[in-house]
């Protein structure tokens, strides 16, 4: 098979834009990055089969049909992306509701271990830290449930 350069370029740009957004901290942007990436991946899979007429027996003669297998795979992928989009949107909304923005924060536990490493302490120090009442950070801006 010879590669279709139009597809190649489109896949490249979709990946580039998608990854750029994925590295952001705003959940909405990350979600848009995911969608762009999925579009790019779908196109990438599509390239695995040849183009042609609709793969329907009786409509297109078999030798002119496009490859149906990548299409079946992409079809499931499209709908999965829909489910994932819905989930991430709900996540972004929930995050906004709880803390007033939809940004992905640094992992608090990882930061704590990094602080231990800076102070040259062992893992036992975490127990001491908890003992001082410096437990998990309280959730800020918790919206009370309306009656």
């Amino acid at each position: 098979m010879t590669p279709n350069l139009t597809y190649v370029a489109t896949v490249g740009v979709l990946f580039a834009a998608g990854v750029t957004l994925l590295l952001e901290r705003s959940l909405t942007r990350i979600l848009m990055g995911v969608i762009l990436l999925s579009n790019g991946v779908n196109l990438l899979i599509l390239m695995g089969g040849r183009a042609g007429g609709a793969p329907i027996v009786g409509v297109t003669p078999q030798e002119r049909m496009s490859d149906p297998l990548p299409q079946a795979m992409i079809l499931t992928a499209i709908v999965i992306t829909l489910g994932m989009t819905a989930f991430l949107l709900a996540l972004a909304y929930r995050n906004w509701l709880l803390v007033g923005h939809d940004e992905v924060q640094d992992d608090a536990e990882d930061r704590r271990i990094a602080r231990l490493a800076e102070r040259d302490e062992g893992p036992a120090a975490i127990d001491d830290e908890n003992g001082d009442g410096a437990g998990p950070p309280a959730r800020r801006g918790e919206v009370t449930e309306p009656p």
Binding site: L69, L75, L89
Partner: protein, 950 residues
């Protein structure tokens, strides 16, 4: 098979392990019903093991092992192979007999309202079962499994009171040390087994491998044995394990578990006893341990710790004796094994009684207990005499046999003998120290007034103590039993026989020397104590290592896990660029031929996608970004059309539309612009990574497509699709038939995602009812409007045109979706597209009215729709299986109906109906969550703000 055959022999032994397991499971319930008396009932399990062993006494004495093999995982060489010879028989007697006695003792040791008694009983019985399995099994891998089970149960028993730090630390030390050794041992077992071609010890012992290979394997195995038996340099875990309740110390850390290492050494001595590496390790480690342990025991004030160090010392003695590797030494070792289990368990039980009745076990605080509790003192004296090797005790018989065996050995053996005599002197000294400390009246110390200990409490200890002289007196008979094991070890000269009296031999002289020297050491020890410290302290090394591991983990984690998720992602992506990207460049794919497009129209659509994607990445407003992302989606749909994929195009158009609606629903709640990043410096880095990944992806697309040479497997699909799937639309048939399993997985993901969405949005009281979507009764009066419900004009602007369109088109669209669903087998459509169309119809109703209108249009729980869909899909697959076909296999049915005429039905349509329902359920769930519920959550806040404005 008759009943006696079942409970006797190898089957009976396996059955006993099962009985222990069942008893362990039942233990918590029994304890809840009967309180601590349940322990008496549970003692029946180890007692049955003792009875089993005694029933086979004749057979073992005749020299016939109890053996049998039952396959478990044949391909791994795993089988339940039972092989109980004289050594195994001895161990079963000890494990069963002492287990039953200690359980009976525990029924008095623990308070009636002891916390966690049910768990203790369960773990204790389970331990007895694991120990039993360990000593009866012949397969090394199965032995390893039981070995580690005893470690785990020991961990749980030491940690009986997890609130105390000493228990937690002790349990963890014992677990780590013995597990580490156990892993080494497993490696050694595998080396042995792979070389021998079998894991059955009875067969490996016949033809042991040789050379350096064997040396490595043996060293690994010995690491396991030495760590399990607390031999130097692993000794430190045993004293720390004394945090456990005393019955645990008596059983696990004196009689049973710590003997596992000795048992393993004894088991392998007949095969390896003459190898230098075997002798060197066991003799050296054993002798050092005996001396260090004995010396440390002299310096303890806690009676339990004294016994613990004494146990360490005696285990060293046992290892050294078995390590000598001669027939007589093996006999002596077996006798010592028996004697030690009896006297050490008895002594631990006595210390437990003292602890419970006097309230302390500190030797400095007890005084005059001998007068207050003479029977207890007598029991202790009997056991301690056996420990010290006073005739006519079992300990004397065993120790004299050991001296005798080493006297006739090589020069090395003589050196070891000197060490053991010295060690025995120390044993005498700490035995005296224990007795004096526990029971003597001390000047200046207030006399202890103990509570009376009942016969049921003292009885088990007394039985064990009395067994000492009984075994000693009947030494010839015991020796006859144990000779069955010892005779397997090659020896020279006339075989030694166990007896109380051999005449005036050098060995007797050594025994007397040890007794005399020990008494002297005891008298002098008061002055020596505290002056000499051990040069190497294993516990300190352990602490250092643990601290170092913890520090290393913190440093590594701190250096690699800085907490920033984009950073982690960036690292992963860079790896993608460098490794697969580099490999791709090395392949130089650009040398292969290419073409610009299939049709030039593709380039137009692609240009739209590219431009939209670039601007989407740069957009600052959420709405702009959303629309641009949508444009790329529609552009891709156009590409699908041009590619010849109508199903894909249809689905992509529909999904893109639903996505847009979702975005609008959520984004109306979020700020219009993306939050300004405080640091914009990272932007260039992100773009750079993005461009690099894009380049690699494009390169892969190019390389993968141009590298393809084989014809696609889908050339067979058209034929398969018609003949097996019964449909012309190959993509749809692929989804519901050829690759239906994939679809099954996918719709499960959809159900999970929908549930996740709902659980993120629906919160608080009444969430479940609201998710079901029962319409509010008050607003359900639709007079003079186009919709069923009258939207509240205050909440959102009205569009009469939208309402008219929604009203007119809704049923038509739903009907069209059903058409798409049913025709999908032969034309573009199918469950996914049809479900999305129906979902869009619902969306229009919701947008035109509000959530009450949505509830009126679909008065049903989205979860129920999802569940029904999954049930229908899975059910279709299951029915095919029940009818004798494969899961998800389709059947073609052609029949005639009165009105419709000829009907061609493919059963996979039911699968597709399930898919349809799930997609409808997903969209409905999204509308209820991101639409209706978010509306509701906003409303009270709006009300408050308007009121405040007024």
């Amino acid at each position: 098979m008759s009943a006696p055959d079942l409970v006797l022999g190898a089957q009976g032994a396996l059955l006993l392990v099962v009985v222990h397991a069942l008893a362990a499971v039942a233990a918590p319930l029994l304890v809840r019903l009967l309180g601590r008396r349940a322990l008496y009932a549970l003692a029946a399990a180890p007692f049955a093991a003792l009875a089993w062993a005694l029933a086979h006494t004749g057979q073992i004495h005749a020299g016939t092992a109890v053996a049998g093999t039952y396959p478990w995982v044949p391909r791994l060489g795993l089988e339940f192979a039972v092989h109980v010879g004289a050594l195994g028989w001895l161990m079963v007697v000890l494990v069963g007999g002492i287990g039953a006695l200690v359980l009976a003792y525990s029924a008095r040791y623990f308070a009636p309202d002891e916390d966690g008694l049910g768990r203790f009983a369960a773990v204790f019985v389970a331990f007895a079962g694991a120990m039993l399995g360990l000593v009866i099994c012949d397969n090394l891998l199965v032995l390893y499994v039981f070995w580690e089970l005893t470690t785990v149960f020991s961990y749980l028993l030491i940690g009986h009171d997890p609130a105390r730090r000493a228990n937690r630390v002790g349990a963890m030390q014992a677990l780590l040390v013995t597990t580490l050794g156990g892993l080494a041992m497993l490696a050694g077992f595998i080396m042995l087994g792979q070389r021998a071609g079998t894991y059955q010890w009875s067969q490996i012992a016949q033809m042991p491998p040789g050379g350096g290979y064997l040396t490595v394997a043996l060293l690994l195995i010995l690491a396991g044995a030495l760590s399990k038996s607390a031999i130097f340099p692993f000794s430190f875990w045993l004293p720390a394990a004394m945090a456990a309740p005393t019955p645990v110390s008596a059983y696990l850390h004196a009689a049973a578990m710590v003997k596992a290492g000795v048992f393993l050494a004894a088991l392998m001595t007949p095969a390896f006893g003459e190898l230098n590496v075997w002798r060197a390790v066991l003799l050296t480690a054993g002798t050092i341990t005996m001396l260090l342990g004995g010396w440390a025991a002299l310096r303890q004030h806690d009676a339990k710790l004294l016994l613990a160090y004494g146990t360490v010392s005696q285990l060293g003695l046992l290892m050294a004796v078995f390590g000598a590797g001669s027939r007589d030494a093996a006999l002596a070792g077996a006798a010592m094994l028996l004697a030690h289990a009896l006297f050490k368990a008895a002594l631990f039980l006595v210390v437990g009684i003292v602890d419970r009745s006097a309230g302390t076990r500190d030797l400095r605080e007890l005084s005059g207990l001998g007068r207050a509790a003479p029977w207890l003192a007598a029991v202790a004296a009997l056991a301690a005499a056996s420990m010290a090797g006073v005739p006519p005790m079992a300990g004397f018989v065993g120790k004299e046999a050991a001296f005798e065996a080493l006297l006739h050995g090589s020069g090395v053996d003589r050196v070891v003998l000197a060490g053991l005599v010295l060690g025995s002197a120390l044993t005498v000294a700490y035995a005296l120290r224990l007795l004096w400390g526990l029971f003597a009246g001390k000047p200046g110390v207030i006399a202890t007034r103990p509570r009376r200990a009942g016969w049921a409490f003292v009885g088990p200890a007394a039985l064990l103590a009395v067994a000492g002289p009984v075994v000693g007196v009947s030494a010839p008979a015991v020796g006859g039993m144990l000779a069955g094991y010892a005779d397997a070890v090659p020896g020279t000269g006339a075989p030694y026989r166990l007896a109380l009296w051999h005449g005036f031999t050098p060995a007797l002289g050594l025994s007397l020397l040890a007794l005399a020297a020990g008494s002297a050491v005891y008298l002098l020890a008061g002055r020596l104590a505290g002056r000499v410290r051990l040069p190497i302290d294993g516990a300190r090394v352990y602490d250092r290592v643990m601290e170092g591991v913890g520090r290393l983990a913190v440093e590594v984690t701190g250096a690699t896990q800085r907490g920033s998720l984009p950073f982690y992602l960036g690292v992963i992506l860079l790896a993608l660029v460098v490794l697969p990207g580099g490999m791709m460049l090395a392949d130089r794919p650009w040398l292969r031929p290419w073409r610009a497009w299939d049709t030039p129209v593709q380039a137009v659509a692609a240009a739209g996608v590219i431009i939209a994607a670039i601007f989407a990445a740069r957009a600052l407003r959420r709405l702009t970004a959303m629309i641009l992302v949508g444009v790329t989606g529609y552009g891709i749909a156009v590409l699908f059309v041009l590619h010849g994929a109508p199903d894909l195009a249809l689905t992509q158009f529909l999904v893109e539309t639903v996505t847009l609606v979702m975005f609008v629903l959520v984004l109306r709640r979020l700020p219009a612009k993306f939050s300004r990043r405080p640091i914009r410096a990272g932007r260039r880095g992100r773009v750079a990574i993005g461009v690099a990944v894009g380049a690699v992806a494009a390169g892969m697309a190019y390389a993968a497509t141009s590298a393809r040479q084989a014809p696609p497997i889908s050339v067979a699909f058209p034929e398969l699709s018609v003949s097996y799937g019964g449909g012309g639309n190959i993509v749809n048939v692929t989804l519901v038939d050829i690759r239906a399993w994939d679809t099954m997985g996918e719709i499960s993901v959809l159900v999970a995602a929908a549930t996740g969405v709902a659980s993120l949005i629906f919160r608080g009281a009444g969430a479940l009812r609201r998710r079901r979507g029962s319409p509010p009764a008050a607003r359900a009066s639709g007079t003079g409007t186009w919709l069923i419900t009258a939207p509240d004009p205050g909440t959102r602007p009205q569009s009469i045109i939208l309402q008219v369109v929604a009203r007119l088109l809704f049923h038509t669209i739903v009907l069209f979706s059903v058409y798409l669903l049913l025709s999908g087998h032969n034309a573009p459509g199918g469950g996914f597209a049809a479900g999305l169309v129906c979902g869009l119809a619902l969306t229009v109703r919701y947008l035109a009215g509000d959530r009450a209108e949505l509830n009126a249009a679909a008065p049903i729980d989205a979860g129920a729709v999802l569940g029904t869909g999954l049930f229908v899909s899975v059910g279709t697959g299951a029915v095919a299986m029940l009818l004798g076909g494969q899961v998800l296999q389709s059947a073609l049915l052609d029949f005639h109906l009165p009105v419709l005429g000829h009907v061609h039905l493919v059963t996979s349509v039911f699968f597709d109906i399930g898919v349809y329902l799930i997609v409808v359920g997903l969209v409905l769930d999204i509308l209820r969550s991101l639409g209706a519920e978010m509306d509701r959550q906003q409303e009270p806040a709006d009300d408050v703000s308007t009121k405040e404005a007024v």
